[in-house]
């Protein structure tokens, strides 16, 4: 039997875990149709681990929804499939390409696939009638996210209104909705990038191999190192070279950059993240670079 600390103190990681599990159980108890949004990245995998713990020995009582951009890293899809298999999850996939084909979203050639995910996601939420969607967003990621509640209310158009958020006191979450509205739920709100990595280390969590340093054919664009791929046509002056790199976030491979690194294990990644001087998004997410309020604007439209 596991002995706990004699002085009745929890480590900060245990306290964060307890808070997240509380949130998962609260949503499962109060919402009719929850779903977990799954990108295949470290945050959504950490959410799966927490959900697994929250309902054990029962199975996770809601499905998992992935928005497939058609531009995902194959390593990420393989990891996704391993988790689905291990936990016996019901996996739903909403495809951006399908959404373009059926006219749900419009690809004007200038809008990134990442941005087209928003319409695809909202359509999937509406189609399945989901009332709550778990997202892996963390408040330390970005200044607009730092403002968001754990239960983030979305109107019937899926929009977030940052000036009109519900007060959220103690751990008493208000999940009331009108028809057509839904709630985004952020169980990792109070976790930092480093907390997630410590947790992945402690729990031995299976994450996509692209997080670990590996040789990869890359080229430089807008100050970022992007992966060579048929999906990523080279422009004039761009030159492919092999570097030892790893990814700090997982997203659309045409926009998600990697960093040069030799960190090949989780403890090595922790050591690297602990001294990093640039945020994960600032370093490698092209989609956040459009304007100072890029994230807020996308979230208002219904993004994660």
């Amino acid at each position: 039997m596991l002995r706990t600390h004699g002085d009745y103190r929890l480590s900060q990681l245990d306290e964060l875990e307890a808070e997240s599990i509380h949130i998962f159980r609260e949503v499962a108890a109060e919402f009719e149709r929850p779903v977990l949004l799954f990108s295949g990245g470290k945050d959504s995998i950490t959410m799966l681990r927490l959900a697994e713990k929250a309902f054990y020995p029962a199975k996770i009582p809601f499905p998992v929804l992935q928005i497939d951009t058609g531009l995902d890293f194959p390593e990420v899809l393989q990891t996704r499939d391993r988790w689905v298999e291990r936990l016996g999850l019901r996996l739903l996939v909403a495809s951006v390409e399908e959404a373009i084909r059926t006219g749900v979203v419009v690809d004007d050639g200038r809008t990134s696939r990442n941005r087209l995910q928003t319409g695809t996601l909202l359509n999937a939420i509406e189609e399945h009638g989901f009332t709550a969607a778990f997202g892996g967003g963390r408040r330390d990621e970005e200044k607009a996210r730092a403002k968001e509640r754990v239960y983030s209310h979305r109107d019937e158009f899926g929009q977030w209104d940052p000036k009109n958020q519900r007060p959220e006191l103690w751990s008493l979450y208000n999940g009331r909705l009108h028809a057509g509205e839904h709630m985004r739920i952020f169980p990792l709100s109070n976790w930092t990038e480093l907390d997630v990595w410590h947790y992945i280390d402690r729990e031995g969590i299976d994450i996509p191999s692209i997080y670990f340093a590996h040789p990869r054919r890359v080229f430089r664009r807008d100050g970022m190192l992007l992966s060579e791929s048929p999906l990523n046509g080279l422009r004039d002056g761009e030159r492919v070279e092999e570097r030892t790199v790893r990814f700090r976030t997982v997203g659309d491979l045409t926009l998600t950059g990697c960093v040069e690194s030799t960190a090949a294990t989780v403890p090595e990644i922790i050591a690297e993240v602990a001294v990093a001087r640039v945020t994960e998004r600032g370093a490698t997410r092209g989609d956040d670079r459009f304007s100072e309020a890029a994230m807020e604007d996308r979230k208002r439209e219904g993004y994660f």
Binding site: L2, T4, Q12, L16, A18, K53, P57, P167, W170, H178
Partner: protein, 416 residues
């Protein structure tokens, strides 16, 4: 390493954002790309300094107006401890967001500008923090550099505040003279204020003992979710999942389940796939009981001779957070622990003037951001403790059933 949650408070231009910027900067929690973005925006606006408030004011409308509207949560860690800062707005019209940030805080940090002394807002925020029973309070007298680090100025504010605080319930108060802009007494002790012999702000935050603020005597487990797998491996498993709100629970303990009033013993406590020897706040666990009782969400597991009071008539302090005023006869939804019911306002006993602490017994309503003592009646009994005894089983929120919005929050004074 443990966690300290703190909420900042104070007036608009007292330097909150600068102080937070300084704490983040000195603990190396600001990243170069964030700082670069803030520098660029400051320059584009023609400032000759880097406006650290831009780090925390994350919304478009906040940046446009240069004020904080909503709580922003910030994270930093030192080798000693991890911190979550709820950076709350100073403006009166956003009091509800200040209350949101303070409800979970272990420590409230109220800033005053040494040149201005105590303002209405600093008093108001101290009152709110004491009503929310934030156990530790720090009054940071900021901008000491602008009053020549004068001990007399500090002493006057100190005396005025401690006189005011005697009327409040503040178990632990620390008053620290600082300059957030220049870093005096923020992380390291300042040599420019030799007359101050206390700790720096950071040292105080790092070494404060917060685990002892939790109630380890009165066992409370609000049942959140019933786990019944019906799988071949766990066919007969029936677990009651929840986050421990008070006390310590061990296998073999005799327990009382409310509202049924039945007693049984704890057969085992599970934390995922492991059994644990004890559970205490704020652990999220799953409890198995020896007997097959009918226990569901909204019930409470406690100890036979130490149980919360089931009550339908409740006296409470209510924080009202919406434009349309609260009046007698108003019906609302109420959420208390894991139980949701309906409630009607039976009486408004008084409205509290948070600046003077005067109780207006003639008041017939509570307007936006007003606080008062209210008597409610609920459709089903709530399993109540006083908020003074337990912040989890002594608190509730009020929801407008028409709009779905959270319109009020309350702390329980007792059954009536």
């Amino acid at each position: 390493m443990d966690l300290l949650r703190l909420a900042t408070a104070g007036s608009v231009d007292d330097g909150k954002s600068t102080l937070i910027g300084r704490l983040l900067m000195d603990s190396k929690s600001i990243f170069e790309d964030q700082l670069e973005a803030v520098r660029a925006t400051s320059a584009a606006r023609g400032y000759d300094y880097t406006d650290l408030a831009l780090l925390t004011d994350g919304l478009r409308s906040e940046r446009e107006q240069g004020i904080t509207i909503d709580v922003a949560y910030r994270y930093f860690a030192t080798p000693v401890r991890k911190f979550i800062i709820a950076d709350t707005p100073g403006h009166v019209q956003y009091t509800r967001n200040m209350v949101t940030g303070a409800s979970t805080a272990d420590l409230g940090l109220v800033l005053v500008d040494a040149r201005q002394g105590l303002t209405e807002q600093s008093r108001r925020h101290a009152v709110l923090l004491s009503l929310l029973r934030v156990p530790h309070l720090v009054l940071a007298v900021n901008k000491m550099d602008l009053v020549d680090f004068d001990e007399g100025v500090f002493r006057r504010i100190y005396d005025e505040f401690t006189a005011f605080a005697t009327k409040l319930n503040i178990p632990d108060l620390q008053v620290i003279p600082i300059s957030a802009l220049q870093g005096d007494n923020v992380v390291t002790r300042s040599e420019r204020m030799p007359w101050y012999d206390g700790a720096s702000l950071m040292h105080h935050l790092e070494h404060l003992h917060v685990a002892s603020d939790r109630d380890l005597i009165d066992t409370r487990l609000p049942v959140q979710y019933v786990i019944r797998p019906h799988s071949d491996d766990h066919h007969d498993y029936r677990g009651y999942a929840g986050q421990v709100a008070g006390g310590v629970l061990k296998p073999g303990d005799e327990v009382l389940v409310l509202p049924s009033g039945l007693t049984t013993r704890v057969a085992g406590i599970d934390l995922f796939d492991r059994e644990v020897a004890e559970a205490f706040p704020p652990m999220s666990v799953t409890v198995r009981l020896e007997d097959d009782l009918d226990v569901s969400r909204g019930d409470m597991i406690c100890r036979p001779r130490n149980a919360p009071t089931p009550a339908q008539n409740i006296d409470a302090t209510v924080f009202w957070m919406t434009g349309a005023p609260l009046r007698v006869g108003r019906k609302l939804a109420i959420k208390h622990t894991t139980r949701t019911a309906r409630t009607v306002i039976r009486e408004i006993q008084y409205r509290l003037d948070v600046n003077t602490l005067h109780r207006d017994l003639e008041a017939t309503e509570l307007g936006l951001n007003e606080i008062g003592r209210v008597q409610l009646r609920t459709t089903v009994p709530l399993l109540c403790d006083t908020y003074e005894q337990n912040r989890t089983t002594g608190s509730f929120i009020l929801v407008d059933e028409a709009t779905g919005g959270t319109v009020g929050a309350g702390t329980i004074l007792g059954a009536s």
